[in-house]
Symmetry: C2
Subunit: 316 residues, 2 copies
C-alpha cells in the first residue's frame, strides 16, 4: 500500500513562501475549495498576500469558483513549524538560491509527516541537488508553474534522482485533478521544458534585432499577429501536423523538413547581450509601450488572458 | 510625383495563382470590398476557388465584412494577360520554384502597367533572385502572409536589391489600410522572420522529443497550456518586459539575461531528422489526435482562431 493518501483526499495545502508565485498558488488553491495555510519569513507578507488574493479572486471568479471556495479558508502562520501541521500537500516557493532551498527542505522534512508530498515551484534549480542529505528525499518533487500560476494551466513535474516514481505520478494526478494541465518532464535540464522553448524563440527574436532584420516592435508583431495566435490553440508539433495538408505530419516532414533543416543551419548564433544591444531592446519596448505603464500592460494582458482561457474552456 | 497611385485609390486586385494561399487572399480582398480578378494555369481551379471563397465567407463575416463587399466581385480570367488588365495591385501566389516565379514575373512585367505594384506571397525565395533581368524590377516586392491569409493578420514585407524603397513603404501602407498587420523586414534571409521564429521554437520542441525530455503530446501542452497563451497577446520582447516586475525589460535583462545566456549555451544542437525520429513524432501526433481527422483538427483550429481574433478586436 502506498504511503501517500489518495489525491482526492487532499483537503488542506501548505504554502511556503508567499512572493509572486506563492501568493498566486495560494489564491488558486483557495479558489479550488482547499484550506490553505501560508508562511513567509518576510516582514509585511501577511497584508501583501491578503491584498493579492483579494485582487486575484475577481479574475478567478470569471473562470469559475465552486461555492464552497472562500478566501477565508486561508490561515496565516507565524512559523514554518505550524504551516506543515495538518496539511495534505505542500507547495514551496522560496527564492531561487540552492542554499536557501536546501536548508528549507531539511526543515520541512523534519516537521511535515512523511506521507505529505512537497512540491517545489523552482524554475531553475535541480531537484537532485536540492534533495541531497534529506531523510525523506523521495517525497520531494518539482511542480513548476507558469506565471501567473492562478491563471496559466501548465505545471511541469520532474523528479530528482532520489524522488520516488510514485511521487511524480501522484503530483501529476493531483494537479490535473484540480484543473491544472500537468506534464511529465523525464530529465532534469536547465529551464525544464517550457522555459527552454521560450528561450529558444527569444534567442531568435533577439538575434533579429541584433542583426537589423526588424525593429523590436515588428519582431513582437511577427509573433503576436502571426504564429502566436496559433500557439494559444495548439503546440508546435500539432501545428506542423496541420501544415502538411491532408497528409498530416508525415507529409509535412517529407515536404518541408529538409528546407527547415537548412534554416536551422543558419540559426546557430547566440546573441551578444552587451550594453548596446540591451539599450536597443529597452528603447524599442519603450517606444512600443508609449504611454502605457507596466501596470497598464499587465492589466491588459490579464484581461485578455482570462477571456482567452474562457473561450478555450467553452470550445473544449 | 510618385509613379504609384495613392493606396486609398486601389479598387481592383489581380490574383495570380489560386492554390491555398492565392484562394485565401482572394477571399480576403473580396471581403474588404475590392474587385478581384483571378487566374491560375490549373485545370479545375475555377470551381475550387469559388468553393473556397463560399466556405471562407462565413468565417470572414464573423470578423466583419462591409456592406459593399460581395463574392460576386470576383472575375475568373482565362489567361494571364487579362488578369493584369485594369487592376491596381497584384498578389502573386505561384509554386515555390525559382524558375517558375522568374518566368511568371517577366510575363507579368510585360502586361501590367508600370504603375501597378506586384507583391509575391513567397515564403522561401529571395526577391533579389526572382526579379533579375526584369525591366521594371523596382515594383516587385515580397508580401508574405501567414496561413490562412484570410484570418491571420501578419504580412511580412521585404524588398529585393532592385525594389524601390517607396514600393516597400507603399505595400506596407496598403496592407495596413485593408486590415492586415504588415511589418518591414530589412534584409533577405531564408524564412523571412516569423517562420524563422517558428523554426527556432520547433527545433527545441523536436530536440525535447529526440532527447527523451517529454512526449510529443506533453511538448505540445508545454506551449499551448503555457507560454503560447501569452504569445497570442504579445510578442517575445514584450513578454520579457512584463517578466521583470515594475522595472520592466531593463530589470529583467539585468536579473535574468545571464541565466538565459547559460541556457542558450546548452541549446546549440540541431535535431537529426532521421526515419526513427520522424516515426516518433508522427506516432506521438497520431496518439494525441486520437479519432480526430485533419479536417476535424482544422475546423477546431479555425473556430477557435475566429473567436480569438474577435476577442482581440473587441479588447483593442
Amino acid at each position: 500500500m502506498s504511503r501517500y493518501q489518495d489525491v482526492n483526499a487532499v483537503k488542506s495545502i501548505g504554502i511556503v513562501g508567499t512572493g509572486t508565485i506563492g501568493a498566486s498558488w495560494a489564491a488558486y488553491f483557495l479558489a479550488q475549495g482547499f484550506k490553505v495555510k501560508a508562511w513567509d519569513p518576510a516582514n509585511t507578507w501577511k497584508v501583501k498576500l491578503e491584498n493579492f488574493i483579494e485582487s486575484a479572486w475577481t479574475d478567478l471568479e470569471k473562470l469559475g469558483v465552486p461555492e464552497i471556495a472562500t478566501p477565508s479558508n486561508l490561515t496565516l502562520c507565524d512559523e514554518l513549524g505550524s504551516v506543515t501541521e495538518g496539511v495534505d500537500f505542500i507547495q514551496e516557493n522560496a527564492p531561487e538560491q540552492l542554499g536557501v532551498k536546501q536548508k528549507l527542505f531539511r526543515e520541512l522534512d523534519k516537521t511535515a509527516p512523511t506521507s505529505v508530498i512537497i512540491s517545489s515551484s523552482t524554475s531553475g534549480l535541480m531537484m537532485s541537488e536540492m534533495q541531497e542529505n534529506i531523510e525523506n528525499a523521495e517525497r520531494f518533487v518539482v511542480g513548476h508553474p507558469f506565471n501567473p500560476p492562478h491563471l496559466i494551466p501548465l505545471v511541469e513535474v520532474v523528479g530528482g534522482e532520489l524522488t520516488a516514481a510514485e511521487v511524480v505520478e501522484w503530483t501529476i494526478d493531483f494537479y490535473n485533478l484540480i484543473g491544472k494541465h500537468a506534464i511529465k518532464i523525464n530529465k532534469e535540464v536547465p529551464g525544464h521544458l517550457a522555459n527552454r522553448l521560450q528561450a529558444a524563440l527569444w534567442r531568435e527574436a533577439v538575434l533579429a534585432v541584433q542583426n537589423g532584420l526588424a525593429s523590436v516592435e515588428d519582431v513582437n508583431a511577427a509573433v503576436a499577429q502571426g504564429p502566436g495566435l496559433r500557439w494559444a490553440l495548439m503546440g508546435p508539433h500539432m501545428i506542423m501536423n496541420l501544415a502538411g495538408g491532408k497528409g498530416g505530419l508525415e507529409q509535412m516532414l517529407s515536404h518541408f523538413a529538409p528546407g527547415i533543416q537548412g534554416w536551422w543551419q543558419t540559426m546557430m548564433e547566440t546573441p551578444n547581450m552587451d550594453q548596446k544591444l540591451q539599450k536597443v531592446l529597452v528603447d524599442g519596448i519603450n517606444k512600443e509601450a508609449g504611454n502605457k505603464t507596466i501596470d497598464d500592460l499587465e492589466k491588459e494582458r490579464d484581461t485578455r488572458l482570462i477571456k482567452l482561457l474562457r473561450m478555450l474552456q467553452e470550445t473544449k
